[in-house]
Amino acid sequence: MTALAAAARPYLAFARTSFLNILAYRARYFVGVLTYFFNATVWYYIWRALFHEKGEGATLGGFTFPQMLTYVATGWALRSFYFNEVDRDIASQVREGRLAMTLVKPVDVQAMTLSQALGESAFRLVLFTLPIGLLLVVVYPVLPPASPAALALYLLSGLLSALLVGAINFCVGLVAIRTTSILGVLRAKYLVLEVLSGLLVPVAFFPEPVRKVLVWLPFLHMNDTPGRIWLGLATGADAARALGLQAAWVVALLLLGRLLWKATARRIEVQGG
């Protein structure tokens, strides 16, 4: 146990440092609450108009209007928690040669990157996700979690989402450095993942063939899985299976990240500069 604690210590330090680093920019997060509020708001109006066409008490894709609104609110709140810029950071380290300073540290680069992402998420949870969630609950009729168990599983699923996004972004960053327009690739990634994660629209609205493919990909576990758990649309064995898959994807993508890192590290030449 002490050996484990000793091994974890440097990573806790990385998490703590990244927590403190973004604390310095906290003003941005006050304004950032508005960004998330606007994003959820535009979808509030779109869904309101769509449900209005269908008439009072209608369901769309298996969701009532309050459920859909709750899906939107919990989805954006969760995004504010799991979001990280691991991809951008790792890519710019490689680009600017700062990676040398990372490589000389006796730590695992992937584990270090992930602890930094989690440190950032811990900050976001307190000063970002909670205010955003609170604002959304106050302004819009968001439904409470379906049951205490649903809340507990949602929190677990949300934590797995953060790990999943960290694992995905580590891979994306390593792929992006092979092109010279890293920022362009990362910008496209945001937009594509907003769709594939189910953040914008639940997967139930996708055409059957697309849905069949999507369930075999990791992205839905970013938003669709936790969203359905909160609403009680996935309970018991369903929820357990979804969480199991989510966790399996985290492990699989962490392994993929390790392979990509090995392939990248072999190619890296650090210049004296």
């Binding site: 950032g32 960004t35 535009v42 779109i46 066409e53 092109t179 496209a188 914008l200």
Partner: protein, 265 residues
């Protein structure tokens, strides 16, 4: 008039120079353009997915909604092509001291900051928007030809409006050292203009028509083509709103520059 001609020529030169440098790495530019297109296509596909299931949304047909969304990509794409330096202005120009170099040249500093680099791949948004409009027009029974003919010009006014609003926010960095990042939430407000304004409450409509007048960039410009008589006064006000905000922007930059003291780096 001579100054306008001079700046137009300079803009063409800046653009040609940048495009040449960028296209030297053709495969890389193609990858960036493809990535950019994938992003646009993903967001657009959600709209298609959602609205194609409903014959009407708040009084708008599916082709009309595609028209609106398609048009919104024109001013947005043009704005994206030129706005990249605005985002990094405080860091790259003020903190790192590049602004001193800008001030040495006998050309408007704002002009130089805007046009020193371009995001060429965002031109795909303009093309994607045009294709969407074309599709919508083929499905719409009655589109005003004059309204269609004016769309490109109104798209430019819309882009000017976007640039001016973000230019104003950027100019704040001449005064406020600790940047609180007002631009991101305002940036996200742009997406409100992609949908029929009738879906919003009065307070949102007011916000989009006054303080942050993005409805003038992407919604009202479609009123003439789609024959929405009730919004015609707003349609004709688009150039005026764009020019007023552009003048405000230029004035604020002037005052900011007058106040500017170099970091000396």
């Amino acid at each position: 008039m001579r100054r306008v001609r001079f700046h137009a020529r300079l803009l063409a030169l800046y653009f040609a120079q940048y495009a040449k440098a960028r296209l030297a790495y053709r495969a890389d530019f193609a990858a960036a353009a493809l990535a950019s297109f994938l992003g646009t296509a993903a967001s657009f596909s959600v709209v298609l997915l959602l609205f194609s299931r409903f014959p009407h949304l708040a009084g708008w047909t599916f082709p009309e909604i595609v028209f609106l969304y398609g048009f919104s990509l024109l001013p947005y794409g043009l704005f994206s092509v030129v706005s990249s330096n605005l985002w990094e202005f405080a860091d790259r120009y003020l903190v790192e001291g590049r602004f001193d170099r800008i001030l040495l040249r006998p050309v408007s500093p704002l002009f130089q900051v805007l046009f020193e680099s371009f995001r060429l791949e965002s031109l795909q948004e303009v093309a994607t928007g045009a294709v969407a409009i074309g599709w919508a027009v083929s499905r719409l029974p009655d589109v005003s030809p004059l309204g269609l003919a004016l769309l490109p010009l109104w798209a430019v006014f819309g882009a000017v409006l976007y640039v001016s609003v973000f230019g104003l926010l950027t100019a704040a960095s001449f005064w406020v050292e600790d940047r609180v990042g007002l631009a991101p939430p305002v940036f996200n407000l742009m997406s409100f203009g992609r949908y029929p304004i009738t879906i919003y409450d009065l307070k949102v409509k007011l916000l989009l028509s006054t303080v942050i007048p993005f409805a003038f960039a992407s919604f009202y410009p479609t009123a003439l083509a789609l024959r929405r008589g009730e919004y015609l006064p707003y349609f004709w006000a688009v150039p005026l709103v764009a020019v007023v905000f552009a003048l405000l922007n230029v004035a604020l930059w002037r005052r900011g520059i007058a106040r500017y003291g170099s970091t000396g780096s």
